[in-house]
Symmetry: D2
Subunit: 484 residues, 4 copies
C-alpha cells in the first residue's frame, strides 16, 4: 500500500505542496515506504494561516451549540472509521493493533468532550460590582491557533488541541509529525466530509521550517506543542519571543514506585504495560522501577518473567504485544543507551538488542531490556530513552523514593503501587509531579481532565485538553457596564 | 520627611542591602528626596529566593483556611493604616489623595478576595473514569513566585499577585518599582506584623539587575510583570527561555468611543477622569477620544470646558484634582510627545506644557493637554504617552471606530459611551480587547475578575487577580487511582 | 393512522397494561382517534420503579464517559427520526410542523448537553482542610428519579430530565401526558434501540393514579414535574410529604413590555410568535402586552394587523401558522375566558371564537384573540389561559410596568422590547422573574442554561436542565480523609 | 449570672416580646436559671418578616463586595469575643470549653467563607446561544429567608445560614432554639455593632408557634431547618405546602466501621471523641461501632478503657472532658434508651446512668455508656439517642458492615477506620451516605464544603453552607438578549 505524495489541507481543499523537499514515511515494522511527505515551505504555512485567519470572523459567529454539532458529526465518522484508522496507525507508527485502538478511543473522547463546548466555555458575571455597575466576563475565541505534534500518537495528539480550539470558535492549523502524517491525512478527510467551513481546519505537512514558520507568523495567536523537552523549550522561548500564547509538552522520565505491600501480580501487569507498551515511546511510559524495601527481589523476579513473555512483532499480526520503535535512527539511539548502561556498569538482566522477528528482517525492533544496579547519575537512569528499556532501582523507604524522584529534571508522570491509603496520599501530596498514578501504570488524564507535566516536562501554565483547553483557547473579555 | 536608606525584607527580617548603587526616591510634586533605594545585587535577589524556597514546604502544609487568616489579618492592618499609606502614596507617586485612596481600596480588595482561597483553590474530580478508577485533580502550589511592578500603583499592583500566590501556598518575592518603593515598605511592615512565617513573603529593592536575577533564578517558578510593553516582551521572552510560567502586562493606548446618543454630561465626567486621573499614568487611562458622527463638536466643547477646570497641584493639598507625573525625565518624555503632535500638524486645543503650580516650582507638572485633527499615524495617536495628553478624533460610524481601534497595536482597555444596548453589544462583541467599558471611563476589573489586556498589551494566557490568579499560582495535579 | 393500544416500557420491554381504564388520544386538528392510552395502575407504576431500582447499582458503575455514549447514540437516532417524530408531534399535539421541528431541536439539544456529563458532574476537592486531612466532594447518583410531563411539548419536556438524570447514573421513569403519549412511545423505541440496560429507562402511561403512585413510592428519590400551578403545588407538597427531592414547574402569565423606543416591526413579529405560537399553549407564551407611553396606538395597529394574518389550520398543511388547542375541553376553557373578558367590559379587538378551518370541521381551533381596555383584576389579565388570547394594556412608564408585573402571582417569563441598554438593565434587575427576554418573545433558556420560573410558577430551588439538573440528580458526598 | 428576660431583635432594634409565655433557660450543669426566653407570637414573627421584607430592596442593591465587608467586620468582632461567647456557650448548652471553642471556630469560618461572596455568587453566561443572541444567568437574591435551629450548636448553626443568605443580598430571620438562645443574643449584639442596616438581620425567640408563623408567612421565601427528623419532615412538608424553598436537616444514627487493619490507638481516640464529644448530642456523633472481623475484642478492650477515662463534669471546670446533656427531660429520654437496651438483652459494658459529679448535684449528667451484643432491631441500635450511649456490633466483613448501614433509616454521616486505600474507596463508593469519614470520627464538612445527609437525615436537595448555600439563597435569573 502506498499513499504517494501527501498533500496539505488548506482553506477547505487538498493542495499539493510546492516544496522540493520530501521525506519517506516508512512502516517501522517492515521498512516499507508508505508515502512521501512534503516539507512544506514557510510560504505554504503562511498561506494556511492566512486561510485560517480569513475564516475566523465567520466561524466565531457560529453559535457554540452549532459549532459543537460539527464535532458530534466528526465523532460519528471517527467511530465509523475507527478500525481502518487504527490499522493505519499501526502501519505508520509501529504500535500493536490493541494499542492503536486504545489511542483512537482517547482521540474520539477528545472530540466527544469538545462537543460539550456550550457548557464548557461559559463565562462568569456579577451584578452590582459597584452600585448600578455590572460585570460580565465573556469567553471569546482569539483567532488562529496551531499545534505541532509528535510521531508517537499521530491520530490522538492533534485532537488534544484542534477540537477544543475550534469548538471555542478559533480556526486551526495542524503540523503533524513528518514521520507519521497518515492518520491525520485520514482524519482531515473526515473533517472535510463533516463540512467545516473552508479555512476553519487546516493541515500543513513539514518539519523544522514549517515549525518556525508557525512560530514566526504574527497571526498565529498561540501554539500547542508536544515533543521532546529540548524542542519544547525552543518552542516555548520562540513563541514567547513573538508574544504568543504557548503550551509546550516535553519529555519524561517516569518513576514507578512499588511498595512492599503492593499486590505484585496486578502491579507487574501494570508495570509491563507501562514500560513496554508502545515500545516505551510514550511520555507516560514507566522507565525506572523503584522497589521500596524488601520487595525488590520478588519484584525483579516477577517482572523479568513477565518481560520475557512480551511478544515482539508487527502490530497487525495476532499475538504481538510489542511493536518496533519508530525509525532506524531512533533504534540506534535506544541501542546507544543500552550500550551506555552496560558501559556504566549497570547489570543487564534482559537484553533486547538482538531481538529477531520472523518475517520482518528490516523492522526497527528492540526487545524488552532490563537493567539493575543502576545509579541515579547514569544516563539510563536520568535521561529520556523513549524505548523499551527499564532500570530497576531499590530504595529503603518511600522517603528515599521521593528524594530520588525529586532529583530528576523531568516531572511528567509517576506512580505508586501500594495497598496503603496513607502511602498513596503521602506520595501524591509530596511528589511534585503533575500526573500521578495510584496502582496505575499509565497515569493518563482523560479528555475531561487536564494533561501535562511539571518541571522539565512542561513549559507554560495551561495544559492540554480538559478545562485548561478552554482557558488556553479563549480570552475572558471583561465587560463592565453602567447606564445613564 | 526622609526614610533614609531603604532595606530589603528577606526571610522575615529587614536587611540592609550590600549594594553600592542607590537611587533617590523623590516626591514628584516637590522634587524633595524621600529616601535612597538600593539597587540590590543578583546575589541579594538569590538569597531572597533561597529564603522563599526554604519556607515553601512548611507554608504549603498550612491548611488553606489557616493561610487565609493571615490575609484576614493583613486586611485589618491595611484598613487601620489606610490613610497613612494613602498619604505616603501621594508623596512618592504624585497622585491626588482621592486617587491614592481609590487605589488603596482596590489593594485591600485583593487581600479580601484572596482570603476566600479555600473556596477558590478547590480542584475537581470524577468517580469511575473507568470501572473502579477515580480521578482527582488537586490544585497544589508550586514554590517561589515573584512579581516585578511599576511606579504608577505602588501600593496596589504587588497585591494583585502576592496575596493570591501566597494564599495558594506559594512563597513570594516582590521587586517593587525603584521609583516608588515606599508603600511596599509600609505594607511589608504590616505583613511582618501579621506574622507570616519567615521567608513566605520577601521584598528586594532594585532595578534591572534585580529583574534579571529573578528571571534567571531557576527556583523562581513563575513571574508576574506589569510595566511597559517593551519590557513586558523582554520579561515574557526571558522567563520563557528559562521555562518559567510568566504573565506580562504591558502598555496601552486606550480608545474611548462616544456615540451620538451618549449622555454627554455623564460621559464627559467619565472621560475627564479617565484621561487626566492619575495624570494619565494608568494602563487603563483614556488616550484617544473617538467621536462618532455629529457628536464631535458638542463633545469637544464640553470636554475642553471640563479639562480647563482640572486643578493641577500637589495631591495632599485640598482642591487638587491632578498631580504631577512621576519624574523629571518622564515629564520630558510627555512634553516631547506634545511637541511631536504640534510638529505633526495636530491642533493643540489645550496646552498643558507651561502649567505653574504655586508653591511647587520644582514639581513635575504637566497640565491637561488636548489635540484635535489627529491622524492615526501620528505618534500621539498610536503610542503610549502615559501622561495627561488626549487626542480627539472623529469617525463616521461605529464601524469606523472599530476599524480604527483594530489598527492599534495595543489592546488593553476601551470604552463606548452610548444609551444603545445594540451599540454596546456590537462594540463588546467585536472590539477584540480584553477590558471593555460601557459608559465607564476606566474599565478596571475588580479583584474577583481577571485583569489584563490583549494584543500588544499582554503576553501570556492567565491574567492578574480573579480566577486566573489561582490557575497561574497552582498546578492541577491529576491523581488517578485504583485499588487492588 | 392508528397506534392501537399503547404499551408501557418497563425493564427493557414493551408491556401491555393490565389497566381496565383507557383514554382516547385524539388529533386535535381532526378529532381523529390516534390511539388508546392505558391509565396504568399503581401496581404497574411500582413495577416500573422496581425495575429501575434493580437496574441502578450496575448502571451507576458504568463510567460516566461510557454512559455519555448512550446519549451520543440516542442523539444520532433522534436526528435520523427527526422528521417523523416532528410529524407525529403535530398529529398528537396540534402544533405546526415548524413548531414541532423547533421543539424537537430543543429536545435533541438536551441529549447533546447530557452527553457532556463527564465534565458536568465533576465534584470538587481541597487538600489540607486541616493538617494532613483532605476533603473530596464526589457527585454520586441517587437511585430512581421520575418525571411527570405535560401535553404541550410531548417530545421535549421528558428530555429536560431523563437524559441528565440517566447520564448522572440514575435510573428513570417517565409518566408522559395521557393526552400526548405518542412521541415518547417513539423516543422510547429509539432508546430501546440504543440499548440502555433493562430498567435504566422506563415509561408508564397513565393519569392521576400513576402520578400518585410515583409520589408515594418510597424508592422514587425525586420527581420532576411540569404542568399547571395547582398541580405543581400538589406535587411539590405531596413529594415533600414523602421527603423526596422535587422540582415542580407550574403555569405562567407572561407580560411583554414594549418601550416607546422599540423597533416596532421586529417587536411585533416577536410578539406574534410569542402570543400565538403553539396556539398560546406554552408556559413561555406572551399573554399581556404592556405598551409603555405613547407607543400604544402604533403597537395596537401593527399587532392587530399582524394577528389577522395568522393562518389557523392543520399543522401538517403548508401555510398554517397556528394550529388548534389540545382538546375540545380545553377549547371550551379558552372560549370561557374570552367570554369572561367580554363580560368584564374589556374591548374585544379581534375575536377568534368562530374561526373556521376548511376541511377540519371538528378541530379544536381558536383564532387569535385580542383584548384592550383590560383591567389587572380581570381573569383574562391575571390567570393562565393557555390559548391564543392576548390582552393589551398601557402604562405610563417602565416603573408602572414593573409594578403591574409584580402584582401578578406568576413569575415564569417576561420580556422587554427596547433599544435602550439602560431600560433593559433596569428591567432585568428589578422584574423578579426568572426567564427574561430583551427583545426576545420567548425567553427560553437553552439546554445548557437552567429553565424554570419564580413566584407562583415554580416550586423548588433547583430547576430544569442546565447545571441545576446535575445538582438535582446527584448528591455531593463529602469524603474527609486522613491516614495514620 | 442572669440575663433576665430576653428580647427579640427586629428591624435593627432590641424589642421586648409581648408574649405571655416564657420558658426558663437553664445551665444544664447546674440547673441554674440563666434567663427567661419569650415564646414569641405569630404576630411578632410576622413583624420581623415584615421588617426584613422592607429592608430587602435596599440591601440587595448594596454591592456584594460591600456586603462582604459587613462579614469581614463581624468576623473581627467574633474573634474579639471568641472566648466570652465560648464560655456562654458552655453555660447554656453544657459543652466543655474546648468543645465550645471548637464550634465557635466553625462559626467564625462560616462568616469568613461568606465574606468571599463576590467570587461565590457569580453567574455564568455565553455569547451567541443563537446568532446575535446572548444569554446571561445572573444570581439574584430572593427576599426574606429564615432559619430554625437546634439547641446543640447554638452559636454555630444559625451561622450556617445567615451569613451566606445575607451576603447574597437577602434579609434574614433567625429563630434560635428556645433552650439555648443566649449565644445568638450575643452574636446579634455584635451584628448590631457591625451596623447592618435595620431589618437585614432579625431574631425572634420562640418555639412551635414561631416556627409555624415562619412556615406560614408568604413573604418568607425559604426556610433552613436543623433538628430532629420528625420535625424536619414536618418543616419540609409544611414549607412545601406553602411553595417555599426548604432544606431540612434531620437526625442521625451514625455507624463507625473499624477494619482489622486499623491503627487502633488513633482509631479509639477518634471514636471516643466521636461518641462522647458534646455528650453525644451531635448529628455527626458516632453511635454504633461496627468491628469487622477479629478486631472486635481488641477494639472493645481499648474502647472501654478509654471510655472509663472520660471525665464527666461542668464544662467550665478544668479537666472536664464531657458535660451534661441539655435538659432533665432529655436526660430521662437517654436513660430510657439505656433501660430499653438492658431490657432487650444487650450487654451493658459500661453504665453511665448513675454518674455523680462533685459540686453539681443537679446537673443533667449521663456518663459514657457502652453496650454489646446489640441486635440491629433494638431501638438502641437504630434510633437516634442523642446522648453518650454506644453500641458495639461485630460483622464478618466490610460487605456485612455496608449491609448493616444500608438498613438503617438515617444517612447523615459514617466513617471507616482502616489503613487500606481499597477498603476506604469501596466504603465511600457504596455506603450511600453524604458525610463520610476515612479515619475521621466526626466527618464534618468545613464551611466551604456542603453539609447535610442522605436518606432519613435530610429533606431537600441543596444543603447547608458551602456552594449549595449560594444556590439555595439565590435565583439564577436567565437573561436572553438580542438587539435590533
Amino acid at each position: 500500500m502506498s499513499f504517494g505524495t501527501l498533500r496539505n489541507y488548506v482553506g477547505g481543499k487538498w493542495v499539493s505542496s510546492k516544496s522540493t523537499q520530501f521525506l519517506d514515511v516508512r512502516n517501522p515494522a517492515t521498512d516499507e515506504v508508505l508515502a512521501q511527505v512534503p516539507l512544506s515551505t514557510k510560504q505554504e504555512v503562511n498561506e494556511a494561516v492566512s486561510e485560517a485567519k480569513k475564516a475566523f470572523t465567520e466561524w466565531r459567529e457560529v453559535p457554540p451549540v452549532v459549532r459543537a454539532r460539527y464535532f458530534f458529526n466528526l465523532r460519528n465518522l471517527l467511530e465509523e472509521h475507527f478500525e481502518d484508522i487504527s490499522r493505519l496507525l499501526v502501519q505508520e507508527n509501529g504500535k500493536t493493533l490493541a494499542e492503536a485502538r486504545g489511542s483512537m478511543r482517547r482521540a474520539v473522547e477528545m472530540v466527544e468532550v469538545s462537543a460539550g463546548i456550550p457548557s464548557l466555555m461559559m463565562g462568569h458575571n456579577l451584578e452590582d460590582i459597584a452600585p448600578g455597575i455590572d460585570c460580565v466576563a465573556v469567553r471569546q475565541p482569539l483567532g488562529v491557533f496551531a499545534c505541532i505534534t509528535p510521531f508517537n500518537f499521530p491520530a490522538m495528539v492533534p485532537l488534544w488541541f484542534l477540537p477544543f480550539a475550534v469548538a471555542c470558535g478559533n480556526t486551526f492549523v495542524v503540523k503533524p509529525s513528518e514521520q507519521t502524517p497518515l492518520c491525520q491525512k485520514r482524519i482531515f478527510e473526515l473533517m472535510h466530509d463533516v463540512g467545516f467551513p473552508p479555512g476553519v481546519v487546516n493541515m500543513v505537512n513539514g518539519a523544522k521550517d514549517a515549525v518556525n514558520a508557525l512560530l514566526e507568523n504574527k497571526d498565529v495567536i498561540g501554539v500547542s506543542f508536544v515533543g521532546s523537552s529540548p524542542v519544547a523549550r525552543y518552542v516555548y522561548e520562540t513563541a514567547g519571543k513573538r508574544g504568543k500564547r504557548v503550551q509546550a509538552l516535553g519529555g519524561a522520565k517516569n518513576f514507578l514506585v512499588v511498595m512492599p505491600d503492593a499486590d505484585l501480580d496486578s502491579t507487574v501487569a501494570a508495570l509491563i504495560d507501562s514500560c513496554f507498551g508502545c515500545a516505551g515511546e510514550r511520555c507516560l511510559a514507566g522507565s525506572v522501577l523503584v522497589a521500596v524495601g524488601d520487595v525488590y527481589d520478588k519484584l525483579k523476579a516477577k517482572f523479568l518473567e513477565a518481560a520475557k513473555k512480551v511478544v515482539v512483532g508487527y502490530g497487525l499480526d495476532e499475538g504481538t504485544t510489542m511493536g518496533p520503535v519508530i525509525s532506524r535512527k531512533h533504534k540506534e539511539k535506544v541501542l546507544g543507551y543500552i550500550a551506555s548502561g552496560v558501559r556504566d556498569g549497570a547489570g543487564l538482566l534482559l537484553d533486547g538488542r538482538n531481538v529477531k522477528v520472523n518475517g520482518y528482517p528490516n523492522g526497527y525492533f528492540v526487545g524488552p531490556t532490563v537493567f539493575e544496579n543502576v545509579e541515579p547519575s547514569m544516563p539510563i537512569a536520568k535521561e529520556e530513552i523513549f524505548g523499551p528499556v527499564v532500570s530497576l532501582m531499590r530504595v529503603a523507604s518511600l522517603e528515599e523514593a521521593l528524594e530520588l524522584i525529586s532529583q530528576n529534571e523531568f516531572g511528567n508522570a509517576t506512580s505508586i503501587f501500594t495497598q496503603s491509603g496513607g502511602a498513596a496520599r503521602e506520595f501524591a501530596y509530596r511528589v511534585g509531579i503533575s500526573m500521578i498514578g495510584i496502582n496505575i501504570g499509565i497515569a493518563a488524564p482523560m479528555a475531561f481532565f487536564t494533561f501535562g507535566g511539571a518541571k522539565g516536562s512542561f513549559f507554560g501554565d495551561l495544559k492540554a485538553h480538559g478545562r485548561d483547553s478552554v482557558e488556553f483557547f479563549t480570552d475572558k473579555r471583561v465587560i463592565i457596564s453602567r447606564w445613564f
